[in-house]
Symmetry: C3
Subunit: 212 residues, 3 copies
C-alpha cells in the first residue's frame, strides 16, 4: 500500500510541477512549444541536475518515457483548460507540496544509496525538489522565486534534517519517507497560509526597491 501511495504522490507531483511551468510560461506569453519545454524543465529539472552531479547517467527522464508522457498530457490539459484550472489553486498547492516532499525524499535516498554525507544528501534532496523551479525561472528571465520570498527550500532542509535525526534514533525506519514528506508538506502549507517568509536582512524600508 505504501508503494502505491508513493507512486501516486510521484505522479501528482510531476503533474503539478508541469502545470506550474505552464502557468509561468503563459505569463511570459510563450508559444505552444515554449510552454511545453518550460513544463518539462520544471518537472524534470531538479532530478536531472541531481543525476548529473552524482553521475547516475543517463538521467532519470531519459530512461523512463512515462515521465515525458505524464508531463506532455498535463501540459496540454493545462494549456487548454488554464482558466478552469486556475480556480483550483488550493488543490494545486496540495499536489505541489506533496510533490516537493516526495522529490526531496527521492534525492535524499539516492544520496544515501551513493554513500554520501548526510549534509550532501539533504542538499541533493533540496536540489531535486526545488531546482526545477529555479531553472524554469532562469529560463523565463526571472530571478528564481525561491531565492526571494517563500519558505520553500527551507521546508526541504528541515524535512531532510528530521529524516536523518530519525534515522539515527532508529525509530519507525519503515515510514521514515512518509514522515519526511508529511513534514515538508505541512511546513509548506502553513508557510503559504500564514505568508511566512525568512527574516529580511534589509530592514523594513523596502520601499526604495519597490518603487523602481
Amino acid at each position: 500500500m505504501k508503494y502505491e501511495l508513493l507512486k501516486m504522490i510521484d505522479i501528482l507531483g510531476t503533474v503539478s510541477f508541469a502545470i506550474s511551468g505552464v502557468f509561468a510560461a503563459m505569463q511570459k506569453r510563450l508559444d505552444v512549444f515554449g510552454i511545453l519545454i518550460i513544463a518539462f524543465i520544471t518537472s524534470i529539472g531538479g532530478g536531472t541536475l541531481r543525476d548529473l552531479m552524482i553521475g547516475d547517467l543517463p538521467v532519470s527522464w531519459i530512461r523512463n518515457i512515462n515521465y515525458s508522457i505524464i508531463i506532455f498530457i498535463s501540459a496540454v490539459v493545462a494549456m487548454v483548460f488554464n482558466k478552469t484550472i486556475k480556480n483550483f489553486q488550493n488543490t494545486l498547492l496540495v499536489f505541489d507540496s506533496l510533490g516537493l516532499g516526495f522529490f526531496t525524499v527521492l534525492g535524499i535516498q539516492k544520496g544515501i544509496a551513493f554513500g554520501l554525507h548526510p549534509g550532501i544528501c539533504i542538499a541533493l534532496g533540496t536540489v531535486t525538489g526545488c531546482f526545477g523551479g529555479v531553472i524554469r525561472d532562469i529560463a523565463l528571465n526571472n530571478i528564481p522565486l525561491i531565492f526571494q520570498k517563500e519558505i520553500y527550500a527551507t521546508a526541504c532542509i528541515i524535512g531532510g534534517s528530521i529524516y536523518f535525526l530519525l534515522l539515527k534514533t532508529g525509530i519507525n525506519f519503515d515510514w521514515l519517507d512518509v514522515i519526511c514528506i508529511t513534514t515538508i508538506f505541512l511546513i509548506r502549507l502553513v508557510a503559504v497560509r500564514y505568508k511566512l517568509a525568512l527574516p529580511s536582512l534589509y530592514g523594513n524600508n523596502t520601499s526604495e526597491e519597490e518603487k523602481l
Copy 2:
C-alpha cells in the same frame, strides 16, 4: 560521398551557429572574450547538454579540438567582417538550417546507439539542434527566441518523427539521415520565408504586452 557531404554540413552548421552567437553577443555589446564564449556556447551547447544527460563523457568538444578551432576562427572572422557578413543573411540561414537538421539527426542517432525510446531520441535530437541557442539566449539575459515565435524546434520534432516512421517501414535505410536533414531544412526555410509561427494561445489582442 555521403560521408563527405555530412562532414561538410557538420562544419557549415558549426560555423553558422558560431556566427549567430557572435551577432547576438555583439547586440548586447559584449567584449571580445564574451563574444567568443557566446559563440562557443551557441555552437557546442546543444551537443554538450545531450552528452551530459545520456552520460557520454567527456562531452564531444572536449574530445575533439577541431570544433574549438573551427568556432574560434569563425568567431574572429565574424567579429572583423561583421558588417560584410550581415549582407549574406540568406546564405547564413541556409547553413544554419542545414546545421539544425544535421545536429538533430546526430542527437537522434546517438539516442538510438544508447538504446533509448524513439520519443526520447527525438527529444535528444531537438536538444542537440536547439539548446545551443537556448543557452545563448539565457546567458545574454533574453527569453529564448525559440520559446516565443519561430518554427524552429517544431521542425526538429517533425523531422525526427519522419525519421522513425521511415525507419519502421524500412525504406531507404541508408539515406534516412539525409531525408531527415532535408525535411528539417525545408520546413525551416519555408517557415522563415512565409513567417510561419505556431498558433497563438493569447488571442489577437497582443497589443497590451507590445505596448509595454
Copy 3:
C-alpha cells in the same frame, strides 16, 4: 610547504568566491536562503561544470563535505558583517585573484590527468576559475560581468598558456603551478588597478546604449 601553501590558497579562494556571491545576492535583495545558494553556486559552479563535462563524477563538492562547510560559514559571516567586510575590498581582491589562479591551475591539471589537448585544458582551467561567477550572474538575471568589461578570463588564458609553454621547455617543473597562479594573480591585480579592459569593438560612441 608547497602543499600547505596551495591548500591555503584553495580555502581563501573558496571563501572569497562565496563572499562575492553573498554581495551580489544582497544587491538583488534575496532572502537568506537565496544568498546561501548564490554563495554556493559562485564557489562551486566552475568546478562542477568542469567535472560534469569531463565526466569526473560525482562532482567535487559532493565527494568532500569540507567545501560546503567553508562556504556556509563564509556566507553567514559575510551576511552578518557585510558592512565591515566591504571595507576590506582590497584584501578580498587579493584572495579572489589568488583563488582565480588556483582554480585555473586545478582545471588545467585535471585536464592533463584526463589526457586532453592543451587547448582544451586551458579552456577547462578557465571554466573552473570563471564560470562560478558566470552562473551566479545568470541566476541573478545579470549579463555575466566577465563577458563585458573586465580582464578576468583573459588572465586565466594567458596564465594557462604560460603553463604549457614552460611545460614544454621542461624548466622548473615542480613550481609550474605556483608560477601559473602568480601570473594570473598579477595580471588580475594590474588589470583592476589600472582599469584595463579588452579593446572595444564598438567605437568610442557608446553613449547610445548608456542613455537607455
